[in-house]
């Protein structure tokens, strides 16, 4: 299998050149290519038939992990292998490494990028749920020079859908400095090691002086509706001190409140059970990281 005819291949050296290249084509006829680990499948199966491919590999300004007084900015073209190896991503940002280290396989991690993953927003994927569970901000730029910043809650619209317009490029995902005593974690379950998530859970908690949870975000991957928050669980986590029974109650509430589906990998009940078991483990890790342990 190979892609349908591609008329033009461009390799811009900057964001402005990349945006100008996309703007030369009608909507849907040109596309950005990042790591290609989703786009190449889609092109070979002819689900995508771009006339023009704008390869972002030379746009250096889209790469890199930058810490600035606690704030974090990860360029869209930063690869999984780079995120997985970045030991400064701990505590409040630990979920990013948890996820990146287990995406697919070594070869996929050597190419695939955080930006490609969130722009594709496949149901069975890790980074969209992690960016949602960490409350990230998506920085977008358009050919007319306009830029906008969207909260993850407003960016992910449903399976394979985001608020990004076709003529916009994702520049980076960023976070302000996290509150003290914050921790996050992510874990997924798939059919084999590091496989696509049948269910994945990302949890961020912030603890008060007394060790009780003051803020919590929970996001799930692998559900038919796409990556999503789980408010029922967030509410129960808040105020708790992370003891095992309380975490189990919060995960029960999530399992009972979300819509799960049955497919070849798992039936709806098993997905609920996965949410309970992975979720409890992830919550415990997030609490431990928030405590600094």
């Amino acid at each position: 299998m190979y892609p349908s005819v591609i008329e033009e291949y461009l390799r811009p050296g900057s964001v402005s050149e990349a945006l100008a290249a996309i703007a030369r084509y009608d909507e849907g006829e040109a596309m950005f290519l990042a790591g290609g680990q989703s786009a190449m499948q889609a092109m070979k199966s002819r689900m995508l038939r771009p006339q023009c491919v704008v390869d972002l590999q030379d746009v250096a300004e889209l790469r890199g992990i930058v810490h600035d007084n606690g704030a974090l900015r990860i360029g869209a073209m930063t690869r999984y292998v780079d995120i997985a190896g970045e030991t400064t991503l701990d505590g409040a940002f630990g979920a990013l490494r948890d996820a990146a280290a287990h995406v697919g396989d070594r070869q996929v991690r050597n190419r695939g990028t955080i930006g490609g993953s969130v722009c594709w927003n496949y149901v069975a994927s890790c980074m969209p749920a992690v960016v949602l569970g960490l409350g990230g901000t998506l920085e977008l730029a358009a050919a007319d020079g306009g830029t906008r910043r969207l909260d993850a809650d407003d960016f992910f619209l449903g399976p394979l859908e985001t608020a990004r317009r076709e003529d916009e490029i994702l520049l980076a995902v960023s976070w302000p400095a996290p509150a003290a005593r914050s921790g996050s974690a992510y874990k997924k379950w798939g059919l084999v090691r590091d496989a696509l998530p049948v269910v994945g859970v990302c949890i961020t908690v912030t603890l008060g002086d007394d060790g009780h949870c003051t803020q919590a975000r929970v996001a799930l991957s692998g559900l038919a509706g796409g990556c999503q928050r789980a408010p029922a669980g967030e509410e129960l986590l808040r105020g708790g001190n992370g003891d095992t029974a309380a975490l189990a109650r919060a995960m029960d509430a999530i399992a009972d409140s979300v819509e799960t589906h049955s497919d070849m990998s798992a039936d709806a009940d098993y997905r609920r059970q996965l949410i309970r078991s992975i979720g409890s483990e992830v919550a415990a890790t997030a609490f431990a990281r928030a405590r600094g342990g």
């Binding site: 892609p3 005819v5 591609i6 190449m40 499948q41 590999q57 070594r106 070869q107 190419r111």
Partner: protein
């Protein structure tokens, strides 16, 4: 069509290719380097097509040939040294790390990159490193053994104990 310059196994090639040509097809059909195999159709799940792009293991069916313009590619044909098969290749032979051999080029290319970064891996780390390569014959036990053997030999070779 686009003219690209790619260094493959140390030799620079200038070729005119259709934009949609996959890197794996460029290697096999243009350069007749048929050691790089195609084991799945488009999903990118079997790893048989694994090559090095600037020294890193990547699946060559998941890239366009034009993306490799200006880069260095190593295929399994480039793995042996001037004095014959290297330690990883010898270990696969000695430890029976293959049966039909269809998966072997991809596994060798992935594991040579892996060992360069993890000189003393545990069996668990080797198994995690192999996730992207399917083998339908061996059951992986002998593959893991071969990689472990190669790692040992390369460490000993590097410290001058035994070549």
């Amino acid at each position: 069509m686009k003219t690209i310059t790619v260094t493959v196994n140390g030799t620079s090639y200038e070729e005119s290719v259709p934009e949609r040509m996959l890197l794996v097809d460029f290697l096999r059909d243009r350069l007749a380097l048929t050691g790089t195999h195609v084991g799945c159709t488009y999903e990118g799940v079997c790893g048989a097509c694994t090559v090095h792009l600037d020294g890193e293991a990547v699946k060559s069916c998941m890239m366009l040939a034009v993306q490799a313009d200006g880069h260095a590619v190593t295929t399994v044909e480039g793995l042996a040294g001037a004095d014959g098969p290297g330690p990883l290749q010898r270990a696969f032979s000695n430890s029976h790390g293959l049966q039909c051999g269809f998966c072997t080029p991809g596994i060798l290319m992935n594991m040579s990159d892996f060992l360069a970064r993890h000189p003393d891996p545990s069996d668990e780390e080797i198994r995690s490193g192999l996730v992207g390569n399917l083998c339908r014959c061996t059951g992986y036990v002998h593959i893991v053994r071969a990689v472990r053997e190669a790692a040992r030999e390369m460490r000993e070779g590097a410290s001058g104990v035994q070549a």
